[in-house]
């Protein structure tokens, strides 16, 4: 069912693509510029993956494996950058530097403006690294430490333990995180364009927005999807080639904590605070700066009302996505077959299709098939759940890999049926994965734009649209309260969920 729904957008794009004149397609694709833009996309993806790993890996280790003071706070702070909309991050970095920027006007010194590959890599890294962090933290928490202890007992140095035992067991999480970030970077347009770096997704946007052309845009979108699916294919090849196991009881062993010592505490917090300042502090400071300068046109009730509307879509989308992801993940991990592999790969289509094309496909099919659903709440929530299914799938799948099948088998042997076993044994074990998945979907649904433009009920004004209808007319100051509201409310919500998730933070 989910698989079939995922194929709809592809079908739509092929349908549109066949309206094309083949010669024009070739002329469009064969330009040297197209190749250059693809190379730029590859360079950007590589940069963002490298830098987000450098941030997320130490962060996840500090939170789950050390006695760092205030780990719970760090855990929430590390997820918060997800709530920052990409263009706000880009505007923040741009607004910070330059002669007329925040720094020069407030403190009297100007930094060179971040732009090009560096600027785009920096901006994207700062708000996508939490995808990797969440995956890694869940993996560290779920990793059976008795394996590491055995390795140590067998005479491995700590370094060997890390490279031979810990790292391979983190691989599924690393790959899942890289995949999500990679696909995001390939499809992102807004922040990259603000940084004046041109990538392949740019051409697609131009086809739609400057040429109002859905036919050639479909060709380009199909190419982008082909690239994305190749990446998905490689990821699953790498992941499925390995075997993971647990030896311990799977529940009772306490996590072994590395003692940091005073110097380590200082170093740990130095690292954490520089990341937090860059990823959260910067955008918040720039927004605050705008808010003090702009007329506070948006009254609090308007912002709260808008937030309620955002919530009414983001919460059910997150739950629906998790509900759809769960059976897909179970199929992939517990019952591998060509069919389950196929469905798992299809699940990424929603995330890989440029969102404007994805939304258009559902405009087309809902008007043809179920016009009564068109531009309803229900359709918007369903399309969000499909579009972001991949985000929920990653953490749930990683959690399942680490949950021991033998415990499930024991429960079955003790007379529990499959449903009872799943509810009483599997579900509690993979709970952090499910929650992480829901948080990811929630946060992205809070800031999503093109799908909301096309499929939200008319008159519906979530924070993201309210903010856009101000930035689009160049009214950055008026947009600031709404951008701030997206960050603050998402962060509060994420903090609330993580606080109540008792397993989080080790």
């Amino acid at each position: 069912m989910v698989g079939a729904l995922m194929v709809l957008p592809l079908w739509y794009l092929v349908l549109r693509a066949f309206e094309a004149d083949f010669e024009t397609v070739m002329r469009l694709l064969a330009r040297p510029r197209t190749v250059q833009l693809m190379l730029n996309t590859a360079a950007l993806t590589a940069g963002v993956l490298a830098f987000s790993t450098l941030i997320a890996l130490p962060m996840a280790w500090l939170v789950s494996r050390t006695d760092l003071v205030g780990k719970r706070v760090v855990n929430v702070l590390a997820v918060m950058p997800l709530a920052v909309p990409g263009y706000v991050m880009a505007y923040a970095l741009i607004g910070l530097a330059g002669n007329y920027g925040f720094l020069n006007q407030t403190f009297g010194f100007a930094l060179p403006r971040p732009q090009g590959w560096w600027g785009a890599t920096l901006a994207l890294t700062l708000y996508t690294f939490p995808y990797l962090y969440l995956n890694l933290r869940a993996a560290f928490t779920g990793l059976d430490q008795s394996l590491e202890e055995s390795a140590r007992a067998l005479g491995c140095t700590p370094r060997q333990v890390f490279t031979r035992v810990t790292l391979p067991h983190l691989m599924p999480a690393l790959l899942a995180g890289w995949l999500v970030i990679g696909l995001y970077v390939i499809g992102d347009f807004g922040a990259v364009a603000l940084m004046r770096y041109e990538v392949f997704s740019y051409v697609i946007y131009i086809q739609y927005s400057a040429a109002f052309d859905r036919v050639y845009a479909s060709w380009l979108a199909l190419i982008l999807i082909a690239i994305a699916l190749t990446v998905v294919w490689w990821e699953s090849r790498l992941r499925e080639g390995a075997h993971y196991a647990r030896t311990g009881s799977g529940s009772g062993v306490g996590t072994r904590i590395t003692r940091l010592g005073p110097l380590g505490q200082v170093a740990g917090w130095g690292f954490v605070s520089s990341v937090v300042i860059a990823s959260i502090g910067l955008p918040v400071a720039v927004l605050a700066f705008w808010m003090t300068r702009g007329p506070l046109a948006a009254s609090l009730p308007a912002v709260v009302d808008s937030f309620g509307q955002s919530l009414s879509v983001a919460v059910p989308s997150a739950m629906l996505a998790a509900m759809m992801a769960l059976p897909i993940a179970v199929l992939a991990v517990r019952y591998p077959s060509p069919l389950s592999t196929l469905i798992n790969r299809l699940a990424f289509i929603g995330y890989a299709v440029p969102s404007l094309a994805f939304a258009l496909a559902f405009v087309f099919f809902s008007l043809q098939g179920v016009p009564i659903l068109y531009q309803t709440h229900l359709l918007l929530v369903s399309v969000y759940a499909l579009a972001f299914l991949a985000l929920a799938l990653g953490p749930i799948r990683s959690a399942l890999y680490q949950a021991r099948p033998s415990v499930e088998e024991a429960a079955r042997a003790l007379g529990h049926g499959p449903v009872s076993t799943f509810a009483r044994v599997t579900l509690p074990t993979i709970r952090p994965g499910i929650i992480a998945g829901m948080v990811l979907v929630f946060v992205i649904a809070m800031k999503e734009l093109p799908i909301a433009f096309l499929l939200a009920p008319t008159g519906f004004r979530p924070l993201s649209i309210t903010m856009f209808s101000r930035t689009s007319e160049g009214m950055l100051l008026e947009a600031a309260p709404y951008a701030a509201a997206i960050i603050v409310f998402s962060a509060l919500f994420v903090g609330f969920v993580l606080r109540h998730d008792k397993k989080a933070g080790g």
Binding site: Y100, L194, V315, H377, L427, P428, F460, R461, G474, E478
Partner: protein, 338 residues
């Protein structure tokens, strides 16, 4: 224990979701029941919401608005075709209106007659609502008035190398390039675009980013739209950017317009026309001039705001004679800028 914890969480979440859906649904439901007109607006909410509620107050007709990007909404309308729920489409620029002209119905002559012929479709299917002129924004600190280019063609001069901001994907820029093709021909336009590209421009995402680039000292000059300066100055009177026009009659001073049309599939065409008439009336025209810093397209005696850059009279005096109807051709892939 763990199970209990989980289902409790699930219950709380489910309750939150149910509440949230209820909250959102009541909001949209009441709006949908009372709505008489559905408007797809590519114009931003802060700019147009006050004038829309003034219309509702005056006529009792509710307007249910879908805000979005001008281009995204045009594509949405194309995809919806004759099943579109929209009655009206209000776009930031003429090119977007041109992309879906075929979906509009002809407006009554009385409505069309409220604006000058240059501000409307030849076949009467859309009409301009507020004028926006193309002109130069520049840094008065780094460029003296006598150093400014006299014509748009001069922007390819080597003296502007590396100093010019350019937003090649912006709708107004695209429209302006199409106007140049009409006025000067394809060969000239292509050469001009290649000249711009070779002049090492600072590529920016949009006009706002261009004004900021000039304020930040990264660029000194930009071919852009007039009204942004007013919006910057309104929140920061010291904003270090000034405006100028090219020589009188130069294509660089093109007067463009934001415009609106009624969908042929609308069941409320009369009310929709009533809405357009209201937008062309004195209250709305004064609002667009005084609060949005754009130019009036209809009526007389509209009072501008002083000190917001090039004035309406200056812009009108400098504008070339040009038929906006010719801006429906949308090919612009050659010069490698986009």
């Amino acid at each position: 224990m763990l199970l209990d914890g989980f289902s409790r969480r699930a219950r709380t979440l489910a309750a939150t979701a149910a509440l949230a859906i209820g909250f959102g649904a009541t909001g949209t439901m009441t709006a949908a029941m009372a709505a008489d007109l559905t408007l797809y607006s590519g114009r931003g909410e802060t700019l147009v919401a006050p004038i829309i509620s003034a219309f509702t107050q005056e006529t009792g007709i509710n307007v249910n608005v879908r805000y979005g990007g001008t281009a995204e909404l045009a594509i949405l309308l194309q995809e919806e075709g004759d099943r579109s729920p929209a009655d009206l489409y209000w776009a930031q620029d003429v090119t977007a209106l041109g992309a879906i002209t075929g979906m509009f119905t002809a407006l009554p002559q009385e409505t069309l007659d409220k604006v000058d012929a240059v501000y409307r479709d030849n076949n009467g299917r859309w009409v301009g609502i507020s004028g926006r002129s193309r002109l130069l924004a520049y840094s008065p600190e780094r460029l003296a008035e006598d150093e400014l280019p006299q014509t748009m063609a001069e922007l390819t001069d080597a003296r502007f190398s590396g100093r010019m901001a350019l937003a090649p994907t912006n709708g107004s820029f695209v429209g302006h390039v199409n106007a140049l093709r009409v006025a000067e021909g394809d060969a000239f336009t292509l050469e001009w675009l290649q000249g711009l590209a070779a002049n090492d421009p600072v590529i920016v995402r949009n006009n706002t980013a261009g004004y900021q680039a000039i304020a930040d000292g990264e660029a000194d000059i930009m071919l852009t739209n007039n009204y942004y300066l007013g919006r910057f100055l309104a929140s920061d009177p010291d904003f270090p950017v000034a405006q100028a026009t090219f020589t009188e009659g130069d294509i660089g001073n093109l007067m463009m317009t934001a415009g609106i049309g009624v969908l042929a599939t609308s069941d409320h065409a009369d009310e929709a026309v009533q809405f357009i008439d209201f937008l062309l009336g004195p209250v709305a025209q004064q609002y667009f001039t005084g609060n949005v810093y754009e130019f009036p397209v209809s009526g007389s005696g509209i009072v501008p705001v002083a000190g917001m850059g090039v004035t309406f009279d200056e812009a009108v005096a400098a504008a070339p004679e040009f038929d906006l109807n010719t801006l429906t051709d949308l090919e612009k892939r050659e010069a490698g800028l986009i």
